[in-house]
Symmetry: C2
Subunit: 288 residues, 2 copies
DNA sequence: TTGCTCCTCACGTCACGTGAGGTGGC
DNA sequence: TTGCTCCTCACGTCACGTGAGGTGGC
């Protein structure tokens, strides 16, 4: 066995630009094993003929092609050639770039829009009483949107039949927003003028003290606003005490860009009665 | 100790969107520990007041801000606010995007330029003899470029003094290209017409059989071409037998884009004399 | 009591780098 | 003989997910 045409791991590393350590792992991994391994010393000896394979691996790794892909390619078992592999890999990289673009857009939104990380500025307000026609339903989160659509359409039909016009956009009450995974108790409301209340069978929503904020962004992420609100309410020594009201200041009727949606959240609160008393409707371990 | 305002890890996870597992690690890591841990059962209980911190962590992790940064931010020890942190983080993301752009550009170069992964098409050629004025030097890789510049300038001065014009671009001979880490033995040559050879003290470069390829790309990566060439030479049953010649078909004099450089590499070869005989100049273990 | 939640501990992911501690070859 | 190279084994990186095996609380 002549070693004249064999390269030690260090030389092979120097020529291919792959570190000796990494070459050992490629050997173990079955990706690129030396032409000869001394059974006594364990020394790895690479053939000069393996250099171009090594260079190719190095080039593809520089492009961040996964080792698994390289093994498939080098095994020759699949008919995929480098071109096919790189085409697939290109898509992966394009996706990663898109991920970064999304992150950048969100960072810039925080930096430029000049609201803090949690863009929920709370204020305590007194909600005025309001007359509404409403429809209450129980549904799941997945079925929520069409259920609301249907209820709204029905309410609008009823108002039209009675010759009454809605006094504003719809208002949606959630009795248990934090237990959405157990099903949602929803009341869809359309406000009407008090003078028209009798004509359409409207009921009053009582006025009450509430904590109010405006959430900006797509509805999928609105749970974050709820969790943050809940923390702030607790910090202020308040307890939530009634169904939360969502109203839609700016939504798909106003923009195609969900990140610009504005949703008002108003949560009825009262001073915390006692440290040890369970809070009504807010304390998750309590109710059904 | 009332637990009415405490949340189990599962509820806290559901409200913040952080998995229970991850919350346990954040506890261990000191990033976000529960307000209360039952010493008997080890159960973690989070305060409602911790929800907004949880949401903030979740938001920043969605932006891929490292845990270490979050710990610094939440510790309040440093005056950095979220804005500063995000500004730094933005730079990191922009860098990552630039990395991906570079990878995409290289993938596209391979895909569109229609050469294979190793863009080295070998051919065996017979190099014609050529007359050159030359200057031989020993240097390191770091000092190579200015050393070549100086030698070339001197050679050009000499030719000008003798009233002779160069017959083409320079040619550079490397006696030991694969041992560059041990120092380079370089001969810088300018070709001249045979008729002018005597007037300027030119010497002949003998003709010989050689393996020739054209490397495309920046010089920093040219070692890859050498390694791949060496593999192909061995596969064809040849041995290298003399200093390799580089000539610069397309370089900084022609383009500002190093990825478009074209470098011709011609390596004198002979048929392998014997499997066990050491090859001249190519077999790395053989000495300086 | 059943089923759900919670606990800890360990291992896998991905592709390496960095050492410790010891040995072979000129 | 000295200094260099090579060996194996173990651990660290990063931020998790996934399971095993067992227990607490309504």
């Amino acid at each position: 066995m002549s070693r004249a045409r064999h390269l030690s791991i260090g030389r092979f590393a120097g020529l291919t630009g792959i570190s000796a350590n990494t070459l050992r792992r490629y050997d173990e991994y079955g990706l690129l094993s030396p032409a000869f391994t001394d059974p006594l010393t364990g020394y790895r000896l690479y053939a000069v003929e393996q250099l171009d394979t090594g260079v190719a691996i190095r080039l593809l790794r520089d492009l961040d092609v996964p080792l698994d892909d390289l093994r498939v390619l080098l095994s020759g078992e699949h008919p995929d050639d480098v071109r096919t592999l790189l085409t697939h890999h290109r898509e992966r990289i394009v996706e990663r770039r898109a991920d970064l673009e999304r992150i950048l857009a969100r960072i810039d939104a925080v930096l430029h829009d000049d609201h803090g990380l949690l863009p929920y500025e709370l204020e305590v307000v007194d909600l005025a009483p309001v007359w509404v026609v409403s429809r209450r339903l129980t549904t799941t989160r997945a079925a929520l949107d069409p259920a609301i659509e249907r209820s709204l359409a029905q309410l609008e039909d009823e108002l039209a039949a009675g010759g009454v016009e809605a006094a504003g956009r719809e208002l949606i009450l959630y009795a248990n927003p934090l237990q959405w995974y157990q099903g949602l108790d929803v009341e869809v409301c359309l406000p009407v003028a008090e003078t028209a209340a009798a004509a359409c069978g409207a009921r009053p929503l009582d006025g009450c003290r509430a904590v109010r904020t405006v959430y900006r962004g797509p509805w999928d992420d609105i749970w974050q606003a709820y969790a943050a609100l809940l923390a702030q309410i607790a910090r202020r020594g308040l307890d939530v005490c009634g169904p939360v009201r969502e109203s839609y200041l700016f939504d798909e009727r106003d923009t195609a860009d969900p990140t610009r949606y504005l949703t008002e959240i108003a949560w009825p609160v009262r001073p915390r009665a006692s440290v040890d008393a369970p809070a009504c409707g807010a304390s998750p371990p309590q109710g059904p």
